[in-house]
């Protein structure tokens, strides 16, 4: 397969298909719409199904049903739409179903929602945050792999920049080893066997074994599996010039590419600055951040929000170095997530201020 100039939205769609994704459901909302349109065009051609769902809640319900049949499925939205899905996203985790969820956000204000779960109760999603189109192609495929490996939803965080930036990319199926056997998937065939399958967020124990649902057993089992998942999935981070850095900048997603350019400029001018870009937001690369902070005078966190990831950075850095928040919500009038602050000179200036402290 040769490289082709593709916008991020198209590359993400291609990556979903390369990963085996065969079911997609969504409701338009910029910049998620862009991905939905590509899926609507591309999926039928490979025998998949793309549903123009009547709302986000219906979209995630459809994806839930498809996922239960073992069909690699994805859904997603933007802001409001993701919020509407929170009930389903919480409970589908307890139903132990794999699902890939795209959050094509309008800024970075959904970090808490993504990493802590905006829904009720205890559950965790794996959260991947690509920095650019090429990485999105890899992480989207990884998300499908992780979701089926761990029977857990995986969130991929994107934004307007990612959706609208075209790069020449090759989308080829990546090999993550054999796909697990989906012995839980429904197709009706176990009906009448005395052992008909059940997929339920209330637990999969049948009354012929237990009497009544045992939520407490089920939740304990989910918690244990979730803990194993979190302990097993290696956190990923990109580090740049952190070894001897006085100031370590931490940023994720598209904004990190601006932070990186600012760090490069400052390095070129002799300043000892470095960057950590968490690629997995959950599990958070705590050790990498802690290690980078070890010798540093200060840690500076840039996020395009009022300060959310900064909690995780503080939990990692503890008292190794002071942690400064140099982010803040930045949006232009369109409301789509184009951020005036995403300007290398603006970020450079903020990092310089931390350097000067």
């Amino acid at each position: 397969m040769t490289a082709r100039l593709m916008e991020g939205s198209e590359a993400i769609a291609e990556a979903m298909i390369a990963a085996g994704g065969r079911f997609f459901a969504g409701y338009p909302m910029t910049p998620f719409t862009e991905v939905l349109e590509h899926m609507a065009r591309k999926l039928p051609a490979v025998g998949g199904v793309c549903m123009n769902a009547e709302s986000e809640i219906e979209a995630v319900g459809m994806a839930w049903g498809a996922a239960a049949t073992g069909t690699p499925a994805a859904t997603g939205s933007t802001g409001q739409g993701l919020s509407l899905m929170q009930e389903s996203l919480a409970e589908i985790t307890l139903a132990r179903l794999p699902l890939v969820v795209l959050n094509m956000a309008r800024a970075q204000g959904d970090y808490y929602q993504a990493t802590r779960g905006g829904g009720h109760g205890d559950y965790r999603h794996l959260v991947l945050a690509p920095g650019d189109v090429a990485e999105a192609v890899e992480l989207v495929q990884r998300a499908f792999h992780l979701s089926v490996r761990w029977r857990n939803p995986v969130l991929v965080m994107g934004d307007y920049y990612l959706a609208h930036t075209a790069r020449s990319v090759t989308v080829e199926p990546l090999d993550y080893g054999p796909r697990p056997h989906l012995d839980w998937a429904l197709d009706g065939s176990t009906g009448g066997s005395g052992q008909a399958k059940l997929i339920s967020f209330l637990g999969s124990a049948k009354q012929r074994h237990h009497v009544g649902y045992d939520l407490s057993d089920h939740y304990a089992a989910c918690a244990a599996d979730s803990a194993t998942m979190v302990a097993s999935v290696e956190p990923i981070a990109e580090c740049l010039d952190t070894d001897d850095a006085d100031v370590v900048v931490v940023a994720f997603g598209t904004p990190a590419t601006y932070a990186k350019a600012a760090v490069r400029q400052l390095r070129a001018d002799g300043a000892r600055v470095g960057l950590v870009r968490p690629v997995t937001l959950y599990p958070f690369p705590t050790d990498v951040v802690a290690g980078a902070a070890e010798g540093a005078r200060a840690v500076a966190v840039y996020e395009n929000n009022q300060g959310q990831m900064v909690d995780d950075v503080r939990l990692a850095v503890l008292e190794r170095a002071p942690v400064h928040f140099i982010g803040g919500l930045s949006l232009d009038g369109s409301g789509f997530g184009i951020a005036p602050d995403l300007d290398v000179s603006v970020l450079r200036h903020r990092i310089e201020q931390v350097l000067a402290r």
Partner: protein, 215 residues
């Protein structure tokens, strides 16, 4: 990775940014419907065809209609390191005065701005970078379609900068048309040439060789 997770992302990512390359930035601005995104994509495809690396970011669509539309094109001789939008750019194509000011502010000394002089009044009042005036809308009207103005500018831009060869540009313009719009191919072709002919050759060359790579 504990779990046989396949491709080793960490290294992939680091490699990706491992060496630096020469990058040429082009900002294209105008108002919706002027073909801004098309020019950007066509130039990017032409550069790709010549073995360059490219990145294009376009902002368009949505709630505020009739607003500006802008595209940021990066063409590099190695991996693109620039983020999607840049605060310092080497070149610009300005289709309309209305939203051009922030773009003009980004231009670096030694750079170049191509201006659609049919709709611009006055000059940009600077000598820090070269300004090339092309009466693109007028030329397009002469060709019979005001919408061809952006293609006129693309031709002129290639003449002035040699970012890509005229051949590559023409090829990319043909490739960019969906089948059901093939009838526009000939108009575009003429527009590119009109622009190319109206502009000073290699006034501000993009590459040190002064010439576009051959494909």
């Amino acid at each position: 990775m504990s779990d046989g997770e396949g491709a080793d992302l960490q290294n992939t990512v680091l490699d990706f940014y491992d060496h630096r390359s020469v990058e040429r930035e082009l900002l294209v601005t105008g108002i919706g419907g002027q073909g801004v995104q098309l020019v950007a994509i066509v130039l990017a495809h032409a550069a790709l065809a010549e073995g360059r690396t490219v990145q294009v970011f376009g902002s368009y669509g949505g709630m505020m209609r009739g607003g500006n539309t802008q595209s940021t094109v990066i063409v590099a001789d190695g991996p693109v390191e620039a983020p999607p939008t840049v605060s310092a750019a080497w070149s610009a194509i300005l289709m309309h005065p209305e939203f051009s000011e922030p773009t003009v502010r980004c231009l670096v000394p030694g750079g170049v701005a191509l201006v659609n002089s049919t709709v611009f009044e006055g000059d940009l009042g600077t000598t820090a970078f070269a300004v090339v005036e092309i009466p693109a809308s007028a030329l397009a009207l002469d060709l019979g379609n005001a919408l061809a103005a952006s293609m006129v500018m693309a031709g002129a831009y290639v003449a002035v900068t040699g970012l890509v060869s005229l051949d590559a540009l023409q090829g990319a313009a043909r490739g960019a048309l969906p089948a059901y719009r093939a009838q526009h191919a000939e108009l575009n072709e003429r527009a590119l040439l009109a622009g190319y002919d109206a502009a000073p050759r290699l006034r501000v060359p993009a590459w040190s060789s002064g010439l576009a790579l051959s494909p």
